[in-house]
Subunit: 559 residues, 2 copies
């Protein structure tokens, strides 16, 4: 253990904790995860006033309805969320940056502005918003979990950019009236399904603190699950918004590449443009996802981020039901063929498929080109630089990679893929996308409407929330990267929680593969009990409006 | 000289010529380029009937007005263009594939269909259309100028795809009623501004056959200039639609990447996704460009080509004048700082700038981030595979690279750029795009409307049409790749022709650089006399509607 980097990490961790005002500190000793697994709902509520509970358990749309009209002051709302985020952090380690003072000052400015009678500054007036620690907020550091990035700008010292730049999306939501107040934890490198780094350590799953919150946008998911933030922004390159959203009973959107501005956010291998990372909202309601996307698009981000495509919010697409009165058809995706989803995930899928039918719509089997090929393709893209970027940044402080990162990238960089092979991979990617599109189009002949399948219903993770670094890398089981590879919008919505009395081990199960056998053998309903299970709905590229509308409908149905 | 490949090339060349019906062959001996430099207008008309001239000198929009209503039969129209294309090929070597019989049969089918009273099959009913020889048409070969691709599918034998596949755009325009009838010449590899390959040899500039037609979509440009086709499709990775359009007095559009479907067309380094090639229309009028883009988008190509973005044709954007009555502002781009445009190009620029002012609009100087940096960046992307793809395909027949290809790619492949450096290049590209966007936005404070500059007026080539393989590679002077690098739509429109009596050598000119001195020294008004000069209008990414509308306005102004 290197004294230098571990000391720097510890110092940073304590600085962050030190930014929690004494009045918001929990009584010591904190309960152990073993003694208090679930810290959601009533547990965390005990530390809050009724008024604070009322505010923090209102969704983002409900909040702006009140802050825009002055029914609630921005200051009270932001302060309540700061308080609850402080509690959430003490219970789950979900934050990496705290800037409550700065946020409350901004809220006061917004209130003063509203008091002049000029009206709200925008559709997000007074809305607290949290960001995964890849986004730069003026006045605040960004480490992305790297010890070597402390006191630097993305690893470089003396740039004058330190604490002094704003990512484009941050700038835009601030223009719209939102108030950033904290940044959330993530695995260093962002390339892991387990939210752990040397600075903060593990972010715990608030529903069962013996389990991981998933990742890489895990801090964001745990924070929002505890209602420490009504709306946050994560990133997703292979499932990093969806995996933790499913594990934390929240809504999360992975938009198509180029729909929302990513410009000026930190990232690993930021030039990797084959299966690129995207940013998207995570929230306590489906309509809050809509709020963020619609509001951001009103800023015409295509005039500020060259990667954003000029597609405004299309109100006419934002409806769940076809105007011609035909039934919707959902493609039901059940298994990769390598690993079958475990009992609680199967139950969630069957339950939602039944619900769809009960509501008068159709479900057909989804048998697309192999999702394992999509996963293989994505992993090859993620490693095309030979891990040069990741090992460079780990090397800045000499910190070792976390378990999952080492699993993918080893302990040192290897030979990068030569340019011609990078381009071969691009071609393989394009061919896969075309096959997938052709399959999707071909389902028109199977639906009652004559339209191709409206959306795909799929597991997010075939396993429920699990132990931190289990022997298997559960983040790599292939149920999420296909969405990145076809570049479709995917929305996660909460469905159920693991119940050890229902989701029992199926002793008769015949594994499909050796890996499947291992996954099913490792499953322990006692361990995963209480862990949330979410599913994803996947739509056509750039049709964020439609998948969000469908998720809103599912939220109503499931309420 | 390898007997095998040269014999195969010769055989192919003769087969193509053999597909011209005897009645359409020109009397032998053909006049030499020296004795008959200009073969446009009256020269080529002498071989056509009045009726054929009437048909072939009608633009694509005028044609479909008549073929859709049955005023002209598709058969007569297609046959007239086949005749004129046959003449054009004999005069300039502009074709690489001829399939007149197949086209005329298709035209007859369309006429029969219209006769049943079912109406036209689509907006392009009966419109002849030509394609650069990267596009696959069923029943026809695609060699892309490579000898090694003869009797193969993109260089591979026995795939059963030979003569049996259709590129997506070809499929779509056929669905819309268009009739492909020939494919046009190009440099092998497509990576050259001179249209020459071992099969066809040089395509000559129809206005002055001692000069090049430019490239790489040079066959298409020469064909359309001679009215052998009303509408063609070329491709542009660094200027390949615009450079030959400017040299041949036609209109050409380089759309944004993802606006039109490229899927299923052959290409060099098809996985190169940093500064990618795009396809776009070339035609005898600006409104014909609109016709092709609007019609294609009506097919919802985003449901068939995963790279196409879901942006339909937006009628409300397709107007040249602002609805608020404000004046337009054009950014006038004068020089890269390395090479100053030669006298005829300067005259064209000054003329159009004056015209803009006379029409009551504004012109301001355009001083963007260096276009030379954009050019350097594009060349680095084009060579990131070390020339592996190009040398592999040249090697299939053992043919040597043409002059300009050798200049860029040498005589054998070199070490590809490692994956991490490929991604570094992507980042450099993104940074450049952002700088450019910021500059463009900043011009809002300089315009009378308060909007950023509406479009940029720029040279296409700083030199007019020139000798085939002059000592300098005129295709690399940096006036076109910046448009690819910022991924903007660019429309070329014809302005003037070189006049040796006006565009005299300026003996007092002080060169900016050594290269500039060379360019100006090589300029000979006697040699370039009669060569067309076009300029380009560049708009915001994905705003094809707007730049086309502006080009329509310029066409009217210049008429």
């Amino acid at each position: 253990m290197n004294a230098t980097w571990s000391a720097r990490a510890k110092k940073k961790r304590e600085e962050v904790l030190g930014l929690i005002p004494p009045k918001w500190r929990l009584p010591r000793p904190l309960p152990s995860p073993e003694s208090q697994k679930d810290v959601t709902a009533d547990y965390i509520r005990q530390f809050l006033s009724e008024r604070e509970i009322d505010i923090t358990e209102t969704d983002a749309v409900g909040i702006v309805e009140r802050t825009r009209t002055g029914k609630w002051t921005a200051t009270e709302v932001v302060t309540a969320f700061c308080h609850r985020a402080a509690l959430a952090h003490q219970l789950t380690n979900c934050l990496l940056e705290i800037f409550f003072d700065q946020a409350i000052m901004e809220a006061e400015r917004l209130d003063a502005n509203l008091a002049t009678g000029k009206g709200p500054v925008g559709p997000l007036h007074g809305l607290p918003i949290s960001f995964k620690d890849q986004f730069h907020v003026r006045g605040v550091e960004t480490t992305m979990g790297y010890v070597g990035w402390i006191d630097t700008f993305e690893g470089v010292k003396g740039t004058r950019k330190e604490r002094n730049v704003e990512s484009e999306l941050v700038r835009e939501v601030c223009m719209l009236g939102a108030v950033p107040f904290c940044k959330s934890n993530l695995p260093h490198t962002v390339m892991s399904g387990v939210t752990w780094n040397h600075i903060t350590g593990h972010t715990l799953n608030p529903f069962n603190r013996l389990l991981t919150c998933g990742g890489s946008s895990g801090g964001e998911a745990a924070l929002i699950a505890l209602r420490g933030s009504p709306l946050g922004v994560g990133t997703d390159i292979g499932g990093s918004i969806r995996y933790p959203s499913a594990f934390n009973e929240i809504y999360g959107l992975r938009p198509s590449y180029g729909r929302l501005p990513y410009l000026g956010a930190a990232n690993s291998m930021p030039g990797q443009n084959i299966v690129p990372s995207v940013c998207g909202p995570m929230a306590t309601s489906a309509r809050a996802l809509r709020l963020l996307v619609e509001a951001t698009l009103s800023q015409e981000p295509w005039l500020h981020d060259p990667a954003v495509v000029e597609i405004p919010w299309r109100r006419e697409l934002a409806t769940s039901l076809p105007s011609d009165g035909t039934r919707l058809t959902f493609g039901l995706y059940k298994t990769t063929g390598e690993v079958t989803p475990l009992p609680p995930v199967q139950r969630a899928l069957a339950f939602v498929a039944d619900l769809i039918r009960k509501k008068g719509h159709d479900v057909i089997e989804w048998n697309p080109p192999s999702h394992l090929e999509a996963t293989a393709l994505a992993l090859e893209a993620f490693k095309a630089d030979g891990g040069v970027d990741i090992h460079y940044n780990l090397g800045l402080a000499g910190e070792p990679p976390q378990d999952r990162v080492e699993g993918n990238y080893g302990i040192r960089a290897t030979t990068p893929k030569p340019g011609n092979e990078v381009f071969d991979l691009v071609l393989r990617h394009k061919r896969y996308q075309k096959q997938y599109m052709d399959y999707w189009n071909s389902t028109a002949k199977l639906t009652s409407s004559g339209r191709p399948v409206d959306a795909i219903l799929s597991p997010v993770s075939p396993v429920p929330p699990h132990l931190f670094f289990a022997t298997t890398d559960y983040g790599k089981l292939g149920y999420t990267p296909w969405v990145n590879v076809i570049d479709s919008p995917g929305v996660v919505f909460p469905v159920t929680r693991v119940d050890k009395n229902i989701d029992k081990v199926d002793e008769t199960y015949q594994p499909l593969t050796e890996l499947d056998g291992k996954i099913w053998e490792e499953y322990d309903p006692e361990v995963s009990h209480g862990g949330p299970v979410g599913l994803q709905l996947v739509g056509r590229r750039f049709q964020e409006e439609k998948v969000i509308a469908l998720a809103e409908m599912f939220q109503e149905w499931l309420a």
